[in-house]
Amino acid sequence: MIEINEELCKGCGLCVAFCPKDVLKMSNKLTKKGIHPPEVINEKDCTLCGNCMLYCPDLAIVIGKEEKIV
């Protein structure tokens, strides 16, 4: 599963650019900060490679199996 924290996201687009499977795309939605956060468009192709998490400078994206549920 992929979680995007729209409050932390600054809309830089690194997660979209470095996703090898085109799972994400920048959305048209506008957040309170006035940025376009990414959205998940193709979750079934996600291999949990972790690139989006690795390159997100703002800890705004997290992927994982649903083990770590709070």
């Binding site: 600054k10 687009g13 940025i35 690795l54 390159y55 400078p57 800890l59 992927i63 770590k68």
Partner: protein, 272 residues
């Protein structure tokens, strides 16, 4: 249902949202450090993070929920030297920018390397003074137009890994933010290494460097890091013209030398 980011536990409560610009490489470096601490299964309370002044100094300060010493401009290595010498049990990591560490703080940098004191120094090198608005720095490529080199930079940039190596560092590596996985591994090595370790991270400043010099946005800059990087292992096989404009990445040195704090402890025993 929510999954929690595995590194959030290391973030100071109330400081999750950083002041970094969108796409800034600082966040990638911050996570690489925290990931290294996490993967090493070390207690972050055993660390002291020391930073100077400039955007990169805000990587640990106040973001990391640990002991953080946010010092004056150029001096973090000297502060860190005092911390380490007076309590060698602490793991001391300096995180700062190129202007802070090798322009105003260049003297402390080479001398700490010469002393081989057990510090891990991570330099976020964005090639410019970001916080003050994009002025030329000691790492700005020659010819580049910046806020204070409107006719192009006439000076040559420092080659930081080779500077550190020549000054006596025992572990030296260079990566870019694109190499976040290798960077994490390198930080783990540096933290465990006894002696002065230095890691340069070529990092994108999309606002002051990217916009001003035409290097593009964060995505373009990082894609270029990927495209232009050459492993140090392959450098010998390449001709000089093939290396032009390339970023040599990898481990520049990993050697054993007597470490200062250990030598001091031995001296104390010797004189009884």
């Amino acid at each position: 249902m929510k999954i929690v980011h595995p590194l959030i536990k290391y973030v100071r409560p109330g400081f999750l949202s950083t002041t970094n610009c969108a796409g800034c490489g600082n966040g990638i470096i911050a996570q690489s450090i925290l990931r290294a601490v996490d993967e090493l299964e070390m207690d972050i309370d055993d660390f002291v993070f020391v930073s100077g002044i400039g955007c990169a100094a805000w990587i640990p300060s106040p973001f990391f929920n640990a002991d953080v010493l946010h010092t004056t401009h150029g001096r973090p290595i000297a502060f860190a030297t005092g911390v380490k010498l007076s309590n060698p049990k602490l793991r001391v990591m300096v995180v700062s920018g190129d202007g802070d560490l090798v322009a105003i703080g260049g003297n402390h940098f080479i001398h700490a390397a010469r002393r081989n004191i057990d510090l891990t120094v991570i330099c976020a090198n964005n090639g410019i003074y970001g916080m003050t608005g994009g002025q030329v720095g000691p790492t700005t490529p020659s010819g580049l137009k910046t806020a204070t080199t409107p006719y192009g930079n006439l000076e040559r940039p420092f080659d930081l890994p080779n500077l550190a190596k020549a000054a006596g560092a025992v572990y030296v590596a260079r990566w870019t933010t694109y190499h976040a996985r290798q960077l994490t591994k390198s930080i783990k090595r540096a933290v465990q290494k006894k002696g002065f370790s230095f890691i340069e991270v070529i990092s994108q400043c999309p606002v002051q460097f990217g916009r001003r010099t035409g290097a593009g946005n964060a995505v373009t800059m990082m894609q270029n890091y990927k495209k232009n990087s050459v492993s140090i292992k392959k450098v010998d096989k390449l001709k000089e013209n093939e290396l032009k404009g390339k970023i040599i990445v990898g481990e520049f040195i990993d050697r054993e030398e007597p470490e200062l704090c250990e030598e001091i402890a031995k001296m104390r025993e010797r004189i009884g």
